[in-house]
């Protein structure tokens, strides 16, 4: 009966990973990725691997979204500068 929570966590991981692929805008994708990281950490805990979950939390909840958003900002800024130099 304790497998029910494993099934729930697996279903949530599958759903959030599918959503992360389906969303097209990188900014919204980073929001979904943050949720995916948290749900993955819960899955690792449920599977009795809290050490893996700990590192997943550290990387997934703050670091990955930060890197993605910084990249998006840099790309946007470069695109704007190129447009200004062309016009």
């Amino acid at each position: 009966m304790a497998e029910a929570v494993i099934v729930v966590a697996l279903l949530l991981v599958a759903a959030s990973a599918t959503v992360a692929v389906a969303v097209r805008d990188p900014v919204r994708q980073s929001l979904v990725l943050a949720v995916l990281g948290v749900v993955l950490a819960v899955l690792f805990t449920v599977l009795q691997a809290p050490d893996v979950g700990l590192s997943q939390l550290a990387v997934g909840s703050a670091l990955t979204p930060l890197l993605l958003l910084l990249t998006v900002r840099k790309v946007k800024r470069r695109g704007r500068r190129r447009k200004e130099s062309e016009s």
Binding site: M1, A2, V5, V8, L12, V27, P65
Partner: protein, 150 residues
């Protein structure tokens, strides 16, 4: 399957499932608020799981999430400040109900733990969880912009 794990499964299905729906659809402000709520709801789940498996060491995960969840939301509030400036996310009802759920779970686990060092750790986690999420949702609702304006 004991009651703690059942409660964790219910919160995971209803709470985190709902925030996953919120983060997948709708305008950007709803997605940002749902991301904040997902960390606020996953932390009580981890506490309930630690109690359910009877492994006090699993509480560390909840501690890390209570620390890093608001940090992640502050990252979004800072980097998306321009996009969110037009219509800032106001999710007062869900934020307070998530905070109340977190406080209730912390109190229940504290009662089950009994006095000792573990109790102090749980109280620290509860304070970080509730305080951090209230600060993070204030920042999403426009506190970051006011701070920048001076």
């Amino acid at each position: 399957m004991n009651g703690w794990i059942l409660a964790a499964a219910v919160v995971l299905t209803a709470g985190v499932g709902a925030t996953l729906w919120g983060v997948a659809t709708g305008p950007l402000r709803r997605r940002a608020a749902a991301q904040n709520l997902s960390t606020a709801l996953a932390c009580p789940v981890l506490l309930l799981l630690a109690q359910g498996y009877d492994r006090p060491a699993y509480v560390d995960l909840a501690l890390v999430l209570a620390l890093l969840g608001p940090v992640g939301t502050l990252v979004f509030a800072r980097m998306l400040a321009d996009e969110l400036a037009d219509d800032p996310p106001h999710a007062r009802g869900p934020t307070w109900s998530a905070a109340a759920l977190g406080a209730a779970v912390v109190v229940a686990v504290c009662v089950a733990t009994g006095p000792g060092r573990a109790l102090v750790k749980l109280l620290v986690i509860g304070a970080l969880l509730v305080g951090g999420n209230l600060v993070a949702s204030r920042a999403l609702a426009g506190g970051m912009r006011e701070a920048r304006r001076g």
